[in-house]
């Protein structure tokens, strides 16, 4: 069981860093994997800055072919239909801003609800004393084992019968109130908070609500932020559930909108530049979050995996 504290007891400090053949080989392998990880992102950018029609004339050029911001303009709806067609776009209008808005609503609402309500439950599991606490917690955790496809069929029917198909509540509700992982994650942190602080608060006459809002939540901003980021990224990237219940224009999220690309591509050459520009813009919010909170995200992965 690794936790945050353990990551500081780091790798064995190697006193003599001689460049043996083994180390050089290891670095070579590492660099190869780095290139494998990063190069596709460069290629995405290079393609997005090219003119679609010209891509086939120089398909292996490392620089954008016939440099233009046209693809981004098409995606963001800034180009006229004539401009779009001239550069190899379809000319059909893409409601990119609408899908972006939908993604923000979906991922934002799920994150806020899930983190808040899971924090409340985690507090009850970590700090309050009540009969059956561990049993109920065990049952909640059991839900981790159930594959999502198994519950999504009945959940789809439920949302359909409630008349919530193609509405945001229908998309958001199933993960709005809890996920087993979120409760588990926060409970671990609440368990580690010093009891004395809470107890002195309760001596001062603070009830559990005030203790929760004034002491526990402010003391846990770090794990709560981490969980919020992870939840946001996961929900932002979600495809299966929004595809099932949010496939109308008004609720379609970016992943679902991008996913139809292949079926809509006519026999001719697809608008690769436009597609790469769209995927790049769709990934930007998550990439920004990552660059802001890289260390938090990286540390939390080790934590969540070794539960």
């Amino acid at each position: 069981m690794a936790n945050h504290a353990d990551t500081s007891t780091d790798a064995p400090v190697r006193k003599r860093k001689k460049m043996s053949a083994g180390r050089i080989l290891a670095w070579a392998v590492m660099i190869a994997f780095l290139i494998l990880s990063l190069f596709p992102f460069y290629w995405m950018l290079r393609t997005a800055l090219s003119t679609s029609r010209s891509l086939s004339s120089d398909p292996s050029s490392l620089l954008p072919v016939d440099f233009t911001f046209g693809a981004f303009e098409r995606v963001l709806g800034l180009a006229t239909q004539e401009e779009a067609i001239a550069e190899g776009g379809s000319g059909a209008s893409v409601n990119f801003w609408l899908y972006l808005r939908n993604s923000v609503i979906y991922a934002g609402a799920v994150t806020l609800g899930q983190v808040f309500f899971s924090a409340m439950a985690a507090y009850a599991f970590a700090r309050l004393r009540w009969p059956g606490r561990n049993l109920v917690f065990g049952i909640f955790l059991g839900a981790l084992l159930v594959p999502p496809i198994f519950t999504s069929l009945p959940n789809f029917l439920l949302i359909k019968n409630l008349g919530l198909l193609n509405t945001f509540p229908g998309m958001i509700l199933p993960t709005f109130l809890m996920t087993p992982f979120a409760i588990f994650f926060l409970r671990q942190f609440f368990l580690g908070i010093n009891r004395e602080i809470e107890e002195s608060a309760s001596l001062d006459g603070a009830g559990p609500w005030r203790t929760f809002f004034k002491i526990i939540l402010p003391m846990s901003t770090a794990p709560i932020t981490t969980l919020g980021i992870l939840t946001f990224i996961t929900t932002w990237n979600d495809y299966f559930w929004p595809l099932l219940v949010g496939n109308s224009e008004g609720t379609k999220v970016l992943t679902v909108a991008l996913g139809v690309f292949r079926s809509q591509t006519p026999a001719g050459s697809p608008d690769w530049a436009g597609l790469m520009a769209a995927t790049l813009v769709a990934a930007v919010p998550v990439l920004i979050l990552f660059f802001m909170f890289a260390r938090k995200i990286i540390d939390s992965i080790g934590y969540s995996g070794s539960k």
Partner: protein, 304 residues
Amino acid sequence: MVSTRTLEHSLDTNRKRTSDLRTALLFIAPAAIGFVVFYLVPAVRGVYFSFTRYNILGTPTWIGTENFEKIAVDPLFWNAMWVTVGYVLLNIGFQTVIAIVLAVMMQRLTKSIALRGALLLPWLISNVIAAMLWFWLLDYQIGLFNQVIEWMGASKIAFFADETWAIPTIAFVNVWRHMGYTALLVFAGLQTIPKYIYEAASIDGASEWTSFWKMTLPLLRPVLAMILVITVTGSFQVFDTVAVTTRGGPVNVTRVMQYYIYQKAFGEGQFGYGSALAVILFIILAVLAAIQLRMLRAGESDLA
């Protein structure tokens, strides 16, 4: 550190023990509603549906084990099963080996957070975007990889459209997206191995290579077991990549289990049959998890 003050306080909280129940119920109420409505009841209903004939527009009729009997002789089910197993073996095999190699190198070579971040980058974008990106990189006409293949004098490969290549290609895309993530899980496991073990090994004159095989790997076993359970369970449910690239084709070679369930339930509206397929997938995953944990003795550590 037990002072009289803390003792007094804990006595105080003990006295209030009974009064916590009402508060606790209020605190877990939202989560409990979410759990019952969207996890527990659906799981029970899912099992019930699997014993019914249920067209999406009609009502469920109890038919006993008929769905399961049909599944047993459904060639598309068996096809989906073998396709999925093949995919999982390829995906998990490569992913696990690569992750261990990367994790050990992360530990031995550098502590750079930038490097770990760079390897994690593919995991941050969605399956859909990763699939689109590789769909382009591996495009038959003007994709970069086929340009390189041609330049090396070999003949082009229709990665997503060729019956032999389609599943390995989808496995590759998912290994690409998950290798950094899995490496970080393994890396976290490496941190739990105490320093003195390596020091002792190095004093005894063990090479890096020997200490990896004789020390690191055996001590990593419980962590690897957990990671395997997580990654195997995840990769059995592959859907997104298939749905946006091959849609089960060419012919049926990429019609993985979850895609088949999706087609049956939502494409053909056969909810009963789809639920029965989902029950079977659930049972397979549960059995596999139990076997893996047992075989890898996840609960025990060699670090006694």
